[in-house]
């Protein structure tokens, strides 16, 4: 069995983004999803600092520092883009207008709780940025993360131990091993990488997993 690369996770997640959706990709791993949006779907990308219709990263010679994303990286605008101030931008977020936001995750619980902004409640220098607003506001939150932490610790937990970003907001989790829906009854696995057994996946998760009647093969679409 081969776990998916970060690009592999991004490419799988992109399949679940529908034509016509307005989407925000959180800073970090979720930004990769923009590279794998399926052809033929018009998907408008939002950035918290005030744009709908964000385009790809520019060539070095075309960088304009008034055109940056929430990660402060240079961007371009697509035809049909719109610009607005920070209050409007978070009005779009909080008002439930974005069909989807993809966030990275440290921990997810079966009740949809997400922890992704701090590993320590007593961090003297906490940094929140826009994650809590996105978590509270988007119509659905998909989380993209490795199934386990670098030290092997489970990230699908019975309850989050790190400070929460949002309570009860995650709808789906995309990892390097599986795709997991968050249902009223907890985690439901729908996709798994070939060669991985249900027992092995469960052993790498802290929270109990249920399995869909049919499990799709999770293959690397980015490769």
């Amino acid at each position: 069995m081969t776990p998916l690369t970060r690009d592999g996770i991004a490419a799988r997640l992109a399949q679940d983004i529908q034509d016509g959706w307005h989407v925000n990709f959180g800073i970090g791993m979720p930004e990769l999803v923009a590279n794998y949006l399926p052809e033929g779907r018009e998907i408008l990308l939002h950035s918290e600092n005030g744009i709908l219709g964000m385009g790809p990263y520019p060539d070095e010679k075309d960088i304009d520092w008034t055109l940056i994303n929430a990660g402060k990286k240079p961007i371009t605008m697509i035809k049909g883009a719109s610009l607005f101030d920070h209050a409007w931008s978070f009005g779009i977020v909080r008002g439930g207008h974005l069909e989807l936001c993809v966030l990275g995750g440290y921990q997810v619980a079966p009740n949809g709780d997400l922890a992704n902004w701090a590993r320590d409640a007593d961090d003297p220098l906490p940094a929140i940025g826009g994650a809590m607003d996105l978590a509270a506001g988007a119509q659905r939150i998909y989380v993209m993360m490795t199934h386990n932490a670098n030290n092997g610790a489970a990230k699908l937990l019975t309850s989050c131990t790190y400070p929460l970003t949002g309570a009860g907001i995650v709808k789906k989790v995309f990892t390097d091993l599986a795709v997991i829906e968050v249902t009223d009854d907890g985690f439901l696995v729908t996709d798994m990488i070939p060669g991985l057994s249900r027992e092995e996946l469960q052993a790498r998760s802290d929270a109990p997993l249920a399995f869909s009647d049919t499990i799709a093969d999770l293959t690397d679409r980015a490769a």
Binding site: G50, K72, L83, H86, R94, A121, M132
Partner: protein, 234 residues
């Protein structure tokens, strides 16, 4: 005659004492009023109660205020960046107070401040550490957190075009917090890339109406090495 244009950057901060609450617009370096930040540094004002989404990068611009030890309290959403170590040292040594909140909450608190709304309920942060100790209330079955408005004595704003009434436009994503800060500060000081004649800005395209602007300057580049000038008088 209604003319917001000023010549003397030093005069812009006259009458502003130590401990003043200062709001600085911009996101990253986009729409960051660096000439005005340098003037604030040159004014010698200390114990600044600073409100800014970011804490700055490197040792120039906003970050210079921290290196010069001028900031008593920072209210922001993201205090990290290239000056993370300095911020950590200032906070852990007790020399600087830090208030961190979600970015949309910060934006809305500033917007509310400029619009005469003393407080509002937001779903953001409900059920998290940030909501602890705050009033909460359920609307339509969902938990919300009470947040209060933020205003300031001084607001620093970076515009693209301005006219002498103080009408402003912003360029691309340099708009960000600028129109919010313009409205929420008692004294809004603006630097603009270009000051144009009345009527040259299409009224349909004014992003911040002149009523919010108090002092208006044309942006001049800040020499990179002058950010260290404060060391000579420190």
């Amino acid at each position: 005659m209604l003319d917001r244009r000023c010549d003397s950057l030093a005069q812009a901060f006259e009458g502003i004492g130590d401990g003043a609450r200062v709001m600085v617009a911009g996101f990253g370096e986009a729409g960051r009023p660096n000439m005005l930040i340098k003037a604030l540094l040159d004014s010698g004002i200390k114990d600044i109660d600073l409100i800014s989404n970011n804490a700055g990068d490197g040792e120039t611009g906003l970050a210079a205020l921290f290196y010069a030890g001028r900031v008593r309290k920072l209210t922001c959403s993201f205090p990290r960046g290239a000056m993370r170590e300095l911020a950590m040292e200032l906070v852990t040594s007790g020399r600087m107070e830090l208030e961190v909140m979600p970015q949309g909450t910060l934006a809305e608190r500033i917007r509310a401040g400029g619009c005469g709304i003393p407080a509002f309920y937001t779903p953001t942060s409900f059920g998290t550490l940030i909501a602890e100790g705050k009033e909460t209330r359920h609307f339509n079955g969902r938990g919300h957190v009470l947040e209060t408005a933020i205003t300031a004595e001084i607001g620093l704003v970076k515009a693209h075009k301005a006219d002498r009434y103080g009408n402003l436009t912003f360029e691309n994503l340099a708009r960000n917090f600028n129109p919010l800060v313009a409205a929420a500060a008692t004294c809004t000081i603006v630097e603009a890339d270009e000051i144009v004649e009345l009527g040259d800005i299409d009224p349909n395209n004014v992003h911040s109406p002149g009523i919010f602007t108090n002092h208006l300057f044309t942006t001049r580049p800040v020499p990179e090495d002058s950010w260290q000038d404060w060391k000579e008088t420190a």
